[in-house]
């Protein structure tokens, strides 16, 4: 991919429309504009095919800092505007970028900032745990809130209704039939056909952003590792990267390689589980049994080598908390060889199975246009032609030492997402071997430096679901002032509402599994 320096040209173009102040912070290009031009910037950005990647706000004294993060060709620009807290409002970017829709609603619910012209200003993250016109992420809102008795259900949420003869509604959740996270899905259907799906998430909102405030780096890393339990390495890495940028420290080369190994191991474990679960959702239990077996073996090696099956708390600010002995390296390599052999056998069976072919091909179709419009990430994006992977396009240590082959499919159906995952397992196995070969003796953890009050960092890593963006601002005394983690699920969930259309209701579970969004990572 060409890495043309689009930022310089774009800055010239934008500057003819508005005043842009270029601010130097360590990690990223930061442009500050006036709030009235917030939407105008988005219009110019979409013309240049910039991807809207993340949005969040922050309260500092009597002001709100509003941020939006854009990306093109692996280069990121952080856009910021500052508004007064007396009557906080600014033009919405969601009118231009559908990807910004839920993010702006989240900011609206938690900060009380109004996005003028927003196409859908219904509440999103707020159900009934706090009352309207109370905003938990404002500094004057107490951590404990003011809960009165039992929090009532969010009964009156205005769902979109379909009308007409034979149209009916199916409410599903928040407590689901399987062993999965809670969320609500509202289907409008005719016969078995899905006319519309509306997601209602926010059930697992645990106040992660609020309880992050005032933590020290170690404690923040532990919290980040629990934003989404299946992505503990990814989130912990992104948060640590942001903190390390703010502190201005580099991690040792050995620590970076071990982080790479951990992240790829997490990717493999999740893809193994998901490939099995996708097949299970179309009643092909052989795959589920074989792949959960392979996943279990993989997790047991995690426990033996790193001391935790899901690899929680293995990444710490400044480096890693675990080392790899040469015996462990040999064990990992041996495991990889066996997994390759077994996977080849199992995948061949799946590939040749006509009932799987019948159920997975053409089902759950997500077009390239819609995937692009929603900024869909990871295997969901890559199965719909979105050729983006940070490990190749904006490589950070240790990916700057290797060549990453990015899996890409353009069919956009469940089968594509299945095959992208399989290819990603193969790539990950090669990467782990590669990282092990490059391991040289060295420190596991750099010396921590207390960052200056106000220091910021933006950690961006390719988690197993796709790009994770983690924003950190430090207060004085090594304390966190603001933590915002953007899980890839936040951008992938809306794609589910689109890809289930014209599928039958009984295919919803497999459609959902092929995307496998995190509820917890979305709700925060």
């Amino acid at each position: 991919m060409s890495h043309s320096n689009w930022t310089a040209n774009f800055l010239i173009q934008v500057s003819t429309n508005m005043t842009v102040t270029h601010i130097d912070i360590a990690s990223v290009t930061l442009w500050q504009i006036e709030s009235y031009a917030w939407q105008r910037f988005a219009e110019l950005a979409v013309q240049q095919n910039l991807r809207w990647a993340a949005g969040w706000a922050e309260q500092i004294d009597k002001q709100f800092f509003i941020n939006a993060c854009f990306e093109k060709h692996g280069e990121y620009v952080l856009l910021r505007t500052i508004i007064d807290d007396s009557n906080p409002k600014l033009p919405s970017q969601a009118t231009v970028y559908p990807a910004a829709n839920r993010s702006e609603r989240h900011t609206q619910d938690l900060f009380g900032i109004k996005f003028i012209g927003h196409p859908d200003s219904r509440r999103w993250t707020r159900h009934q745990a706090w009352i309207e016109k109370n905003y938990p992420l404002r500094k004057d809102f107490p951590l404990q809130g003011t809960p009165v008795g039992i929090t009532p259900p969010d009964r009156d949420y205005p769902f979109i209704k379909a009308h007409g003869q034979g149209v009916y509604e199916i409410p599903v959740g928040p407590v689901h039939a399987g062993i999965i996270e809670p969320g609500h899905f509202r289907f409008q259907a005719v016969g078995e056909l899905i006319l519309n799906l509306e997601e209602r998430l926010g059930y697992t909102h645990k106040g992660i952003e609020k309880i992050a405030e005032g933590r020290e780096p170690e404690s923040l890393a532990r919290l980040a590792g629990r934003v989404s339990g299946d992505t503990t390495v990814g989130h912990c890495w992104a948060a640590c990267m942001a903190m390390e940028q703010a502190a201005g420290i580099e991690i040792p080369a050995r620590a970076a390689l071990i982080r790479g190994i951990l992240a790829e191991r997490e990717r493999v474990a999740n893809h193994l589980g998901d490939i099995g679960a996708i097949c299970n959702d179309v009643a092909f239990v052989f795959a589920q049994m074989q792949l959960t077996r392979l996943r279990e073996l993989w997790l047991r090696t995690n426990a033996t080598v790193f001391g935790h099956r899901l690899l929680m708390d293995t990444i710490v600010p400044g480096g890693v908390a675990c080392d790899l002995s040469s015996a462990s390296c040999a064990l990992i390599k041996n495991d990889i060889a066996e997994l390759r052999m077994e996977l080849a056998e199992v995948i061949l069976v799946l590939d040749l199975n006509s009932s799987l072919e019948d159920r997975l091909y053409t089902a759950g179709f997500l077009s390239e246009e819609i995937a692009a419009a929603f900024g869909t990430l990871g295997y969901v994006g890559r199965a719909s032609g979105q050729d983006f992977d940070l490990r190749r396009d904006a490589p950070y240590a240790p990916y700057n030492r290797v060549t990453v082959k990015v899996a890409l499919e353009t069919q956009g159906d469940i089968a594509s997402r299945f095959w992208v995952r399989y290819k990603e397992i193969r790539t990950a196995l090669r990467l782990i071997e590669n990282f092990i070969d490059q391991l040289a003796a060295g420190d596991l953890r750099g010396q921590w430096k207390t960052p200056l009050a106000g220091s910021e960092g933006l950690g961006i890593v390719e988690g197993w679901r796709g790009e994770i963006i983690s924003y950190i601002r430090f207060d004085a005394d090594n304390k966190i002032a603001r933590f915002y983690p953007r899980d890839p699920s936040q951008l992938n969930w809306p794609a589910l509402e689109k890809l289930v259309l014209n599928n039958i209701v009984p295919d919803f579970p497999v459609c959902n599994k092929s995307l496998n969004g995190s509820y917890s990572g979305n709700d925060l």
Binding site: G145, T146, P147, I179, I180, R226, F286
Partner: protein
Amino acid sequence: MLRMFKKILATGVVTEQLTIPKDDELEQLGIHIKRYIDKKFSGSIAIRAVDAGSCNGCELEIHALNNPFYDIERFGIHFVASPRHADVLLVTGPVSRHMQTALLRTYEATPNPKWVIAVGDCAACGGEFGVSYASCGAVSNVIPVDAVIPGCPPTPLMLMQGLLGLMGVKK
């Protein structure tokens, strides 16, 4: 098709023997059993897993109970899709305030006699999230809890031993 049968045969049975933990071993595991499940349930319990706001880590390990290594169904423990079919609620997560009513209703929908097991550190004591404007903390802050299986997340082995211990399975 032949390839599939060949793979099934070659894989064989991987299910592992499990020793039923003694009471003091359970104590060592940190599993505090408040009371044993009624004898008449011994040999068969139906579990409804409820995620009341967890990070999904505990769910991954509860899932693993059904993989061929643990195969928890051989002990008569199976997961059901509705609380109305359940003897036991396996509740994970700090209870988010947005899930409080849903959890209460699930509890009410479960027929008596019923038991509640809080799974994971968050369910046990609030864990990393504690009590806040958005979280009720421990499951016991919302519904009565009969047993706790701590861990972040508890391993499938800990889950299994906790469940068998609770069932009062005698070897």
